[in-house]
């Protein structure tokens, strides 16, 4: 099923990711690594919809944000323990995805995109204006990092390894999901919805289940997000957040497993490096968006693979 070559490549990548704190030397880079991993989980969850399902969502921040807000609110206001709060937050997020999925899947294509955007904006507006629960513009702060099973996540390195572990689980689970017969039916629903219907598949149900799964993993990213920052504000629910995730997926390569990680690394590193020098990150984000859409429509990973294949075949033929 999985060839030894692929397995060897995955092992090499895992070792490389595990070595980041050892090589990095200072906490700034370790934290940058954690941010990339969290963003990668978020982008992978969106990739289920955008890449494998062909459903471009511009409201994915909803799941990250709601999960993060729910965790902070349950832990602080209701006094729940971190595990219970996390589990409840994931349940709430999954229910939300189930409900939003029913609405958004009334349409496909651009209609789907507009509805997800509008649904996402509802939550953003709610986070801003429902001050009694969300703290409004100030958000909820002061959430302490937990120590799951006695593992204290206070330090940058510990949190990085925790994020890496969650990333590994998410990577494997999403890989199995899209590689399964169900994943094949999702891709079938993307490419040939009419034929799939003719073959007796319930295209709507396939899309809805994928929508819910995607929302669940978005919620997982939200848990890490809120514990990494110890803080949550309406920005987590903003259109910018959804658009950044979409950029990661498209830049890295939709419908590839590694694409979201590459895209997340690109966006997060660029954002941090650029923000250190100028305040105009959003301007650059927009410009990169336009450039990638025009020049690299199928993303970095497939683009690199294409170049690699061309180079390899030329070497094979010409002998140079």
């Amino acid at each position: 099923m999985i060839s030894p070559r692929v397995l060897a490549r995955l092992a090499a990548e895992a070792i490389a990711l595990a070595a980041v704190p050892l090589v990095a030397g200072n906490d700034y880079y370790v934290n940058l690594g954690s941010q990339v991993l969290i963003a990668a989980i978020f982008a992978m969850s969106l990739n289920i919809l955008v890449g494998y399902g062909g459903m471009t969502s511009l409201g994915h921040a909803a799941y990250l944000g709601v999960s993060a807000y729910a965790t902070a609110w349950l832990a602080q206001r209701m006094g729940m323990g971190p595990l219970a709060a996390g589990a409840c937050a994931l349940a709430i997020t999954t229910l939300l995805a189930a409900f939003y999925g029913v609405l958004a899947l009334r349409a496909s294509g651009l209609g789907f995109l507009m509805i997800t955007l509008a649904l996402g904006q509802i939550l953003w507006g709610l986070a801003y204006r429902w001050v009694a629960v969300t703290g409004g513009d100030n958000g909820l702060s002061g959430l302490a990092r937990p120590a799951p099973f006695g593992w204290d996540l206070g330090s940058a390195t510990a949190f990085y390894y925790f994020s890496l572990a969650v990333f590994g689980i998410a990577f494997a689970a999403i890989g199995l999901f899209v590689g399964s017969p169900f994943g094949a039916s999702l891709k079938g629903a993307r490419d040939q919805p009419r034929r799939m219907r003719a073959l007796g598949y319930n295209v709507w149900l396939i899309r809805w289940i994928s929508f819910v799964v995607s929302g669940f993993w978005g919620g997982v990213a939200g848990l890490l997000y809120v514990y990494y920052n110890n803080f949550i504000s309406p920005h987590a629910l903003s259109l910018t957040q959804s658009a950044e995730a979409l950029l990661m997926v498209i830049a890295g390569g939709p419908a590839t497993l590694l694409g979201p990680l590459v895209g997340a690394a690109l966006v997060i590193v660029m954002k941090n490096v650029v923000s250190a020098y100028v305040e105009r990150w959003t301007l650059l984000l927009g410009a990169v968006f336009v450039a990638i859409v025009i020049f690299l429509p199928d993303g970095l990973v497939p683009g690199a693979q294409r170049l690699w294949a061309r180079w390899a075949s030329r070497r094979g033929k010409g002998g140079r």
Partner: protein, 286 residues
């Protein structure tokens, strides 16, 4: 009683503003099959350009027309040099408009700083007039009138002129319109410029009521989406009725349930989606 009259007129004024925004959005979507996500940004940029012109002491209505013209030219350039390069790739076009929206928003923040700034309204329309026993700002009545004139003008163009017939043909069946020799490319540029120009005009007339501030674009874009989802794509009457409905819901929601007004706004959209996904007056199924 006074409360209801005042708030109803406020609702109509907000509906008028929304119409200037969503009419262009709806026509662009109907004809080009693009959700133009930079439409809110055109509204905001129009308002900022209007502000700069007004600060030179220019007449309000002239500033409005000039800002609209500037946005129309801007829109034509975007259509010609970005969107047309991506012709046939709808999703890429939509994402490009999103990138452009971010660039405009950040550039505005850069140039005009982060403070909310009200546009000074025309001096001749200051003060309030009695309407059915309630006192109502004269300027807002003028906004309702301007929006009504724009609606009538657009309706006249779309329903009664040759260009309007071409637009309707394109909305209904683009391939057939091409086949009978309608210059679709030129039509795209023209409609995109018209939509951007209307958004710019809307931004200026909204200025004295809403002020102009960073984030105005992100506030307005979802409203345009909701209006169009509600009214249906490609229909002027749908956009007009959707705008008024949203204007009423938002204004009364704001007055009666301030915390939840923003959420109540989206409820009709949810209902319409469940009952009639193509919108109340939709010509195109999305």
């Amino acid at each position: 009683m006074g409360f209801w009259i005042t708030q109803s007129l406020n609702s109509l004024a907000l509906g008028g503003l929304l119409f200037t925004l969503s009419a262009g959005f709806s026509l662009i979507f109907g004809l080009m099959r693009i959700a133009n996500l930079s439409h809110g940004a055109y509204f905001m940029l129009g308002a900022y350009i209007g502000l700069t012109l007004l600060r030179t002491g220019m007449n309000f209505w002239l500033a409005m027309l000039l800002a609209g013209a500037a946005m129309a030219i801007f829109g034509a350039l975007i259509e010609r040099f970005v969107l047309r390069r991506l012709a046939g790739r709808t999703l890429s076009q939509v994402l490009a408009t999103l990138g452009i929206a971010f660039m405009i928003a950040d550039a505005c923040l850069w140039i005009w700083s982060g403070d909310p700034m009200p546009l000074p309204g025309p001096a001749s329309l200051e003060g309030a007039v009695p309407v059915l026993g309630a006192r109502f700002p004269l300027y807002r009545l003028a906004v309702i009138a301007v929006a009504a004139v724009i609606y009538a003008g657009l309706l006249l163009v779309v329903e009664r002129t040759r260009i309007g017939a071409m637009i309707r043909a394109g909305v209904d069946d683009l391939d057939m319109a091409r086949a009978v020799g309608i210059p679709v490319k030129t039509l795209f540029t023209a409609v995109f410029a018209l939509g951007a120009g209307l958004a710019g005009v809307g931004g200026v007339i909204a200025g004295p009521i809403l002020s102009v501030y960073p984030g105005l674009d992100a506030d307005m874009l979802p409203l345009a989406l909701v209006v169009v989802i509600l009214g249906g794509v490609g229909s002027l009457t749908g956009a007009a009725i959707g705008s008024v409905v949203i204007g009423f819901i938002y204004t009364f929601g704001q007055a009666l349930l301030p915390d939840l007004a923003y959420v109540i706004l989206f409820l009709p959209m949810v209902l319409v989606l469940v009952a009639r996904p193509r919108g109340l007056f939709g010509r195109v199924t999305t």
